[in-house]
Amino acid sequence: MNLLGHIARLRFVILATIAIPIVGLLFDTSMRLEVHQETTRVLREIERIEVVINRDLLELRHGHQANFDSLVASKQRAHERVQALSDLTKRLYRGDAEAGALDCIDSLCRLLDRRHALLERFKTESAVLNNSLRYFPDALGRAMAKLSVEDESGKAVQELSALAVHALDPAIGGSEASIEELTAAMRQTMRETGISTNGSGPVPALWQLALAMERQKTSVNGVLREATRMSDFRARVDAIEHYLDETRSQLEAASSRYWLLLLLLGVLGLVTTVTAWTGMQASKAAMQRMNETLERRILERTTELEEASRAKTDFLANMSHEIRTPMTAILGYADMLEDEEQSEADRNDCIATIRRNGHFLLSIINDVLDISKIEAGKMTVERIETEPREIIDGVENMMGPKAREQGLEFRMEWPEQVPRRIYTDPMRLTQILVNLVGNALKFTKKGHISVRVDFAPEQPERMRIEVQDSGVGIPADRVDHLFEAFSQADTSTTRRFGGTGLGLTISGRLAQLLGGSITVTSEEGSGSTFTVETATGLTECPPEDLTAGTAAPRARTATARAQTRTRYSGHVLLVEDGLDNQRLISRILSKKGLQVSIAENGAEACEHVLERDRSDIDLILMDMQMPVMDGYEAASTLRNAGCTLPVIALTAHAMETDRQRCLDAGCDDYLTKPVNVQRIGEVLAKHLPEDRSSA
């Protein structure tokens, strides 16, 4: 697959790689063909020139040409062609047939060289002959003149004429014997007629000349015959052409094969180009589609984000409103408290209002903390042994009085049997139920609120708790958005009914974390039912683990109240940098009968405890966030120094991880701000002796 992908990607390179050598071969082949054609052409030219040379030779021999200029020019042309031929042989190579042709061409060139050398001999020899021929008439004239005087019979003149004819006839050659015969006859006649035949006379000169001519004719004719013999030449040319034809047909076949291959590659290239082009178009279209999808998604997401952002903005606006409302009450009533003229009842009313609003503020902050934990995925729940009855009773204790205050009926409905214990997070389950009941209280003006527990022993793994009210109900179209964060059924709802609008979101998420869910059924105008389903952590429920569904509420508040009033003895070192908190906490502690010393920061606390006499300090209450030295460092410093005094951490960080961090630093216990008098009492009770004396 990978290999195929590479091939597909490199297909043009591959095609070009194949095509280039083929083009090269084709080029080479056609070059060779060209050399062949050129060779053939030159051979034809040489043939033509050699024919012309032959004609020149014959014409010269028979006196039809008066000089050698034409022959010399022809020979020069032939020489140039032979040179061209031998240059071509340097470009003819490879192949046995061509090697044969090369041999033949070589042999042909040598043959032509010999022939051209013969031409020179012909010129030289025939010049001598021509010389004699030129002079012969003159010599004949002299001989005739002499004989015409001396030869009265005319017989010798006759014989001289015969000799002259014989010598001058260019067609007759090589008949020295005839000349000798004629000369002998003439000599005989001359002797008979008494004419002098001594050596240097014009007649002997003539017949010497005739004899020389006859010899020269023999020589010239010999050269001529040799020079004009074309059979060897033709044989060689034929052989060369045979070889060349053979190679040429091979080359032509190869050439057409290469052309075919090239054509094939061209078609392939074209197809590849077209497919690449269409592929490109297709991928372009796909890209376009993808872009469109992306754009749409981005648009959607942007809209969502805008909504979320708007929801958060709304939420913040709500928060601001929600926080300002109780703050206004707290500050306003605090101002009123300063008024000395108020009656005791009015003061108490002011204090109650301040406390209520403070609690409300705290609940808002707790909700926000919860939701941010949930949003960050940091919310964890416990699975510990819990009594369902205790949880429901707790809810009843907390919410029942409020309901009754509003004139509502608050009912608890139990099935016949509930499990004695389940495994869940009691705090979170309580939170959910308090939330749901709180909502019901908010939206119900008259009628009832009921909490019904539903449990089937056959299905021990789940338990359902329904919170039903007879309130305003929820519009059907808002039901779906009910559990979304920062969303109340109506933003106006917040104004009418108060609340952070986070309660249901937190409850829903907590229910999920507890292995269940919250479902809602509602009818506008006649009330809503929220059903919490939670995992029980049980796989079976034997009868002995079941218990009756009714029980009396426990007197918890009484205990709590008792604790707030308890007095302790001892000396507490309060480590706190904030002046207001110093004063507030000092007062709470003093009211409980404790002696209080104050340290501004961890370093001061360490100094106080370790360097002074420490026997007068019984407990350290330490803020965690301080300048100079913070609480964590101070606690670990004290522990490292061997201090065993109880150290109670005091922190505004309300998260579970913060608690653990405090304990890890060496603290014994943990209190969250804002300080709760009751909670302080509980913690003090653990670490300090009770002062019964002044109770």
């Binding site: 083009v23 000089n67 020179e120 030289t124 010049a127 290239g269």
Partner: protein, 335 residues
């Protein structure tokens, strides 16, 4: 990217194919051999023909060749030029029996004229050079002639601004041995001595020759001189043995290597004492005569030729007529 590849390879193929079809253009070559006067020996009884100049010569190359021909810097010591021996004002020869070259060194043979040398079928007395280019290279590096070396010649010419410019303008490869020889030979092809009285006679001007010269021409033909001295150049188109009727060299004595003729080239016994037949144009101006410069006058040369080549003792009157004819072969000395 792919598209570029495809187009590239298509173009490459197309280019190569086009190359195949049209043929690769050949590199510029040296000046093509000019078309010479067409030999017109056929169809006429006249063994001698009038001269015609070459056509198609590049005048710039001719000019360059003329400069080179007269430039002594081509020689070893900067004193000898081609023109030192081939004096264009004196018939293209030096007038000496043997050529005198580098630092007075005396050569073995008589200087042949450069006039009409382009019409010779071979160059040198023994015909060892086929072309003027081949011939020109000989004396330039011959230690007793110009005694130059190609390295020096090329260096000298390359250093000369005007030469370098000319060569670069006329030849793709600038100053090169072949280009120098081409230029000189091209110039030499312009040295055709047209318009001699005899040529005017041949062209129909019957008054161009004196009576004696006219008789001389007839004798030239009748005695057989024309058997060898024939064609446009009145010779120069065949080899012939010196001494057909009698042994010239035995009679003269002191046979030298230069007397061997073509034998020195071919080594064949038949070529002993065989020389290129010299053209007789301007022969009036090229004394002394023969390869050995042994004949100081034309009359003497004519007599020797008659004796050894024709087997005739030419009478004085015939010699006078022949000399007058030969003097009518003197043409216009272009230079």
């Amino acid at each position: 990217m792919r598209g570029t590849w495809a187009i590239g390879s298509l173009l490459l193929s197309a280019g190569l194919c086009a190359g195949l079809v049209t043929g690769i253009p050949s590199a510029p070559t040296r000046s093509d051999r000019p078309t010479g006067p067409i030999a017109n020996g056929r169809g006429t009884d006249e063994p001698l023909q009038p001269l015609e100049t070459f056509s198609g010569l590049d005048s710039r190359i001719v000019h360059l060749g003329r400069r080179l021909f007269h430039d002594p810097r081509l020689s070893g010591d900067g004193t000898v030029s081609c023109a030192s021996c081939h004096d264009l004002d004196h018939g293209g020869v030096d007038g000496k029996r043997f050529a005198e070259g580098f630092r007075g060194a005396v050569g073995p043979i008589n200087t042949p004229t450069v006039y009409n040398a382009a019409l010779n079928f071979r160059q040198f007395w023994d015909g060892r050079a086929a072309t003027l280019e081949e011939q020109a290279a000989g004396p330039m590096t011959n230690p007793i002639e110009m005694a130059g070396t190609w390295d020096d010649i090329l260096a000298t010419l390359s250093a000369d601004e005007t030469y370098r410019t000319s060569f670069e303008a006329l030849y793709s490869d600038g100053v090169q041995r072949e280009n120098i020889l081409d230029a000189i030979a091209t110039f030499e092809r312009t040295l055709i001595t047209v318009d001699s009285p005899f040529d005017r006679f041949l062209q129909g001007d019957r008054t161009a020759l004196s009576e004696s010269a006219t008789r001389g021409y007839q004798l030239f033909k009748d005695r057989g001189c024309v058997a060898c001295h024939q064609g446009r150049n009145v010779g120069g188109n065949l080899y012939q043995r010196f001494g057909i009727f009698g042994d010239y060299f035995a009679d003269r004595g002191e046979v030298t290597e230069a007397d061997l003729g073509r034998f020195a080239v071919t080594g064949e016994e038949a070529d002993r004492h065989v020389f290129k037949v010299p053209g007789l144009r301007n022969v009036e101006l090229t004394a002394p005569y023969f390869h050995d410069g042994s004949a100081t006058t034309l009359a003497e040369a004519v007599r020797i030729m008659g004796r050894y080549q024709l087997g005739l003792e030419l009478p004085d009157q015939e010699v006078r007529d022949l000399v007058n004819f030969l003097c009518a072969l003197t043409g216009k000395q272009s230079r």
